[in-house]
């Protein structure tokens, strides 16, 4: 989230699109409803009338996978009717930047951007660049009139997203589109704020990243980024998924969103040179310019004294990706399916049900030599070898079950969608033989180390050189019990030497050797500081001799009245509750909306200690202490971007600098109404024109699979249901796999509500109870009727034990991912529904 859960209450218009918070994030609805009580409007755009839609002021149905068409229409509406926040757009976004005149868009190139190579399915992004002045700074036209400026290109691009066209693609009635556009665009005024809440309904598409980009463009046009009650807010689907992503869960990033090194980045010097963003604009903070400090401090944290200047701080021990290698979920299971992986830790997950194309996943597991299933309970993954239809005698995979402690049986931090790291204490000791994850890792570490020591291996340095100072050691040097506070401190970072600011005379001491770092501001690139994750620096800190776990704070003061609660736990970065908050003020530092001031420049501010004048910011922790932008020493607001500006034009993505509508891999249309290019041209196809493994087959626009389908969660079950299908109270409410179908489709197929039906895709089949409902309505798409159905993925064959629950909807979903993230497209695919 750019903002935070509570901040939703400050909004005037809440757009829920790609999410269903009432069912999947029930607590958030408290804040949605508080906003509504103050007069805010709730808009829900969803193929299905959900429990969230039941609370909406405006509900607009939309066919799955057509969000960009829907939002593109909104961009056009905002531009046509001059509803954008001009001062914001001119000063804080790249709208005035002049783009390379050779750049061409899909309107000119049959759905493609300039630079496409059909063979590699990739773009050469040479033309997606800016015209530079003699200083190497992008040229700008603040009047926004230059035909090559971003603003004019945006206008040109979205002029194609006419109301009729959009309605024909999305199936949303025109009057609904207009009602949504008008209501949301009303937030383009300085004293109005609109927020967007999304979840997997946006990310799990082949155009997932661009769905979010399209909304980012809208939020920048309307001046909603950085504002209280604004922002783009990803509702995280698991309580600590924000935390795990922050700490390097994904293959392409190290903790703190530092890029994972590739083979060609041979040493730390190259890493720093190649991967540190640069700017020549003195007004741009370019915070990522600090990357050398963060990567070096990270290496010092993980390799400790073994990391020295002479050995490149152990950079060589970091794992490297092959050039162009993608190690995301779909690729991992594809490699596993091809027999390229020997072993697999399924840690706190149930891919046999959660993985897209779960049938392939289940087959892939059988190719492993060994698998370790770390979970609270056995699940469909751990027991894949005895699933219905499998012959255990034919499966050679050795499966180990390691029982894990639940969240109430261990201490530690958890980071929610608000980027809020909250410390939790242990309620009860772990039951039976179960252990906290950290203890399991401790065991693993020492056993692997011992094996390396006794038997040796090709490349033992990364393990042998790790620091592991997480508690008291036994005689053999093994940590007896992991102290999670020590881990939290390692993440925060230490001063490894006495640290001085030598720019002032006499030099001012910034930190004492051995003490915890104050924040990432004091981190160094010379090995004198350590920090496990720079964005978490300040979370466990030290003032003089007093060590403070900031995450354990529980004070309920709220000085701004915006619900920031700055002394409740701790939010990254540096306890900032609303990021990009420098965009919430005008270039003079005055809040665009004084009634919901996030920060405010105070020229009369006094230093709290010396009582001497020290002009500064009031309110939330600002995005950097620099004075407002109009000041001589002022800085641009979007400090994480090299050019300091909010990106309306986004040349960093694989599939285009402006979001363009493409159909889902499996769709009901022969042709994309918008262009000749039907699907995202840059997605990796696992199966193409008969080539590829049959498991990855997809069938589009085919009479055998005539209905659009989507998957979802229900409030009564958690993810694949491993934690809830064992719980009879939850099963009582939601006992069985179901498929929601419209009354119209049910009539056509002669299906009655409550009867068992079969749902089939090109890849698999599940049975489900037909839930015939008014909540799905047929769509009018391209002049014909298109039906959509939906089913949850929380069921699995193993529990309930009598098999009465059914199996996962992911047996139907395709092997295809987003062009940028490779997140699987499980929210739009094609199926058939038949009487069982």
């Amino acid at each position: 989230m750019t903002n935070n859960w509570i901040d939703i209450k400050n909004s005037d218009v809440i757009l829920v699109m790609g999410a269903n918070p009432a069912e999947n994030h029930p607590i958030s609805m408290k804040w949605v409803l508080r906003a509504k009580e103050k007069g805010a409007k709730l808009i829900v755009v969803d193929p299905r009338f959900t429990r969230t839609a039941a609370k909406a002021d405006i509900y607009a149905p939309m066919r799955s996978g057509t969000d960009i068409a829907f939002l593109g229409g909104m961009i056009k509406y905002i531009l046509d009717n001059h509803l954008y926040f001009k001062d914001y757009v001119v000063n804080y976004t790249n709208a005035p930047f002049l783009v390379n005149p050779d750049f061409k868009g899909p309107g000119e190139l049959k759905g493609l951007f300039s630079g496409y190579d059909e063979k590699t399915r990739k773009y050469d992004k040479k033309t997606w660049s800016y015209q530079m002045d003699e200083k190497g700074i992008p040229k700008k036209d603040p009047s926004l009139k230059d035909p090559n400026c971003v603003f004019q290109l945006l206008k040109k691009h979205y002029s194609r997203y006419k109301l009729d066209t959009v309605s024909s693609i999305t199936g949303t009635p025109k009057e609904k589109l207009l009602e949504v556009y008008k209501t949301y665009a009303s937030t383009g005024k300085p004293n109005r704020a609109g927020t967007e809440l999304y979840a997997m309904g946006w990310t799990q598409h082949t155009v997932g990243t661009q769905n979010i980009r399209a909304m980012s463009v809208i939020q920048l046009l309307l001046g909603n980024m950085g504002m209280a009650g604004g922002g783009i807010n990803a509702l995280r689907g698991e309580s600590n998924v924000q935390g795990s992503t922050d700490h390097g869960l994904l293959f392409h990033i190290l903790p703190g969103y530092l890029p994972a090194p590739t083979a060609s980045v041979v040493d730390l010097k190259t890493y720093i040179e190649k991967l540190t963003p640069k700017t020549k604009d003195p007004k741009s903070v370019n915070w990522w310019g600090n990357r050398p400090k963060y990567i070096t401090s990270y290496l010092k944290a993980i390799y400790g004294n073994n990391a020295t200047k002479d050995n490149d701080f152990g950079y060589a021990w970091l794992p490297k990706l092959d050039e162009g290698m993608n190690a995301s979920w779909l690729m991992l299971f594809d490699q596993m399916f091809k027999g390229k992986l020997e072993g697999f830790f399924a840690w706190g997950q149930n891919p046999a049900c959660s993985g897209a194309n779960a049938g392939k996943v289940r087959k892939a597991l059988a190719k492993l030599k060994w698998m370790v299933n770390v979970n609270l309970f056995d699940n469909e993954t751990g027991s894949f070898w005895r699933a219905p239809g499998t012959n255990p005698a034919e499966i050679q995979t050795e499966v180990f079950m390691l029982p894990a402690a639940s969240s109430v049986e261990k201490e530690g931090s958890i980071t929610n969608s608000s980027r809020l790291a909250q410390w939790r204490t242990r309620a009860i000791p772990p039951i039976g033989e179960s252990k906290p994850d950290s203890e399991i890792m401790n065991e693993l570490y020492f056993r692997v180390k011992k094996l390396y020591k006794t038997k040796g291996s090709k490349f033992t340095a990364p393990i042998m050189n790790l620091t592991w100072n997480y508690g008291e050691k036994d005689k053999e040097g093994k940590i007896k019990a992991v102290d999670v506070h020590r881990i939290a401190k390692e993440i925060n970072g230490y001063y490894l030497e006495d640290l001085f600011d030598n720019k002032v005379t006499p030099p001012k001491q910034l930190g004492k050797k051995g003490e915890l770092c104050a924040s990432f501001v004091t981190l160094q690139a010379d090995g004198t500081t350590s920090c496990g994750n720079w964005i978490y620096s300040q979370s466990y800190t030290q003032k003089e001799d007093k060590v403070i776990n900031m995450m354990a704070r529980r004070k309920k003061t709220d000085t701004t009245g915006l619900g920031l609660y700055p002394e409740w736990a701790w939010a990254w970065p540096v306890n900032r509750r609303i990021i990009y908050n420098r965009a919430s003020v005008d270039p003079q530092g005055r809040p665009w909306d004084p009634k919901r001031a996030v920060i405010k420049w105070n020229p009369n501010k006094l230093d709290p200690k010396t009582k001497k004048p020290a002009p500064g910011w009031d309110g939330d922790v600002p995005d950097g202490p620099a004075p407002p932008m109009a000041d001589e020493k002022g800085k641009y607001p979007f400090i994480m971007r090299a050019d300091g500006m909010g990106a309306i034009f986004g040349p960093g993505l694989a599939d285009g600098p402006l979001p363009e509508h493409y159909e889902a891999l499996e769709c009901p249309l022969q042709e994309n109404i918008m262009s000749k290019q039907r699907i995202n041209p840059t997605i990796k196809l696992f199966y193409d024109k008969g080539k590829g493994s049959p498991e990855d087959i997809f069938i589009s626009c085919d009479i055998r699979f005539p209905f659009v389908a989507t998957t979802y969660r229900v409030s009564e079950h958690w993810q694949t249901g491993v934690l809830t299908r064992h719980q009879p109270w939850q099963l009582e409410m939601m006992p069985q796999q179901f498929v929601e179908i419209s009354e119209e489709l049910a009539k056509e197929k002669g299906i009655k509500s409550g009867e068992k039906v079969k749902v089939k895709s090109a890849r698999g089949e599940v049975w489900a109870i037909a839930m015939v409902t008014k909540r799905f309505k047929p769509f009018k798409v391209a002049g014909s009727t298109v039906h959509q159905v939906g089913l949850p993925w929380c069921f699995g064959w193993q529990y309930p034990e009598d098999g009465s629950g059914g199996d996962s909807a992911n047996l139907l979903t395709p092997t295809i991912g987003d062009a940028n993230t490779m997140i699987p497209e499980t929210k739009a695919f094609m199926v058939n529904v038949e009487k069982a």
Binding site: R51, A54, M733, S753, M771
Partner: protein, 253 residues
């Protein structure tokens, strides 16, 4: 009982998101076993209150001009009437009683299993457990006695189930624009109030709930007779006849 201390719930379907946290919280606090259910083509489940289900969410679909449907989420449970039909009709002294907070609670030990309370309830709430004892929402009277909030209200994320002093709650609801709450004056004033935006029938509720005449008759005429000399069992069978008529026992679940 002083009216100022009477506690109540206000249920606001406008704020209910149908998450059913309350349905589970109730079961958890009261340690009620689960029923093996099937999906009947709706997410509403179980389909009715049971001896092990004191509170459930009804998912009511009504026609809408602007949307595919209007979907209302309404908690169904004991209404904790001031003039409680169940208590009026109950022939077993102390089996159904009112706490000082105005909760209509019960003592299973004293219940004689006559099921008269079923006939006495205008809302079809009491159920009988496997030991033939009354079972229904008692507003977590054990929690309330300790100054805690009922489990359903405690767990509700949106404030759709709120709990407090009845007079204060009414005043707040009036201030929030609800001129009249459902149950405000009915049956002496209900302890479970509903903040409805539309007519109660839209939410599937009776417009004018009332205790059946036969129960009133028993209460005014026959129950005093019972105290004068008829034994409980005799009185109960007599009353049973009055309430249900002959040979209807089988139909009462």
């Amino acid at each position: 009982m002083s009216t100022t201390k009477r506690k109540s719930l206000i249920i606001s379907p406008e704020l209910c998101i149908g998450c059913r946290g309350c349905q589970t919280a109730c079961k958890e606090w009261n340690q009620l076993s689960a029923t093996k259910t099937t999906n009947k083509g709706t997410i509403e489940n179980p389909p009715d209150l049971t001896p092990n289900l004191f509170n459930r969410i009804r998912y009511v679909e009504v026609p809408s001009e602007t949307n595919p449907v209007r979907w209302l989420f309404v908690s169904q449970r004991c209404m904790h009437c001031d003039d409680a039909g169940c208590m009026k009709i109950c022939p077993a002294p102390g089996a159904i009683y009112k706490t000082k907070e105005g909760i209509v609670a019960y003592d299973k030990e004293k219940c004689i299993g006559c099921k008269l309370c079923v006939a006495g309830c205008p809302f079809n709430i009491p159920r009988y457990d496997e030991k033939n004892k009354i079972s229904k929402c008692h507003l977590c009277s054990d929690r309330v006695a300790e100054g805690l909030v009922p489990a359903c209200a405690k767990t509700c994320p949106t404030g759709a189930i709120s709990y407090g002093d009845r007079d204060d709650m009414l005043a707040k609801a009036h201030a929030a624009g609800y001129q009249k709450l459902y149950g405000q004056a009915d049956l002496g004033g209900l302890g479970t109030l509903y903040a409805f935006k539309d007519a109660p029938k839209v939410y599937g509720m009776d417009e004018n709930p009332a205790i059946p005449e036969s129960v009133v008759f028993w209460h005014k005429v026959l129950k005093p007779l019972a105290y004068w000399g008829l034994g409980g069992a005799v009185a109960a069978s007599l009353l049973h006849y009055v309430a249900f008529g002959p040979k209807k026992d089988e139909e009462v679940k």
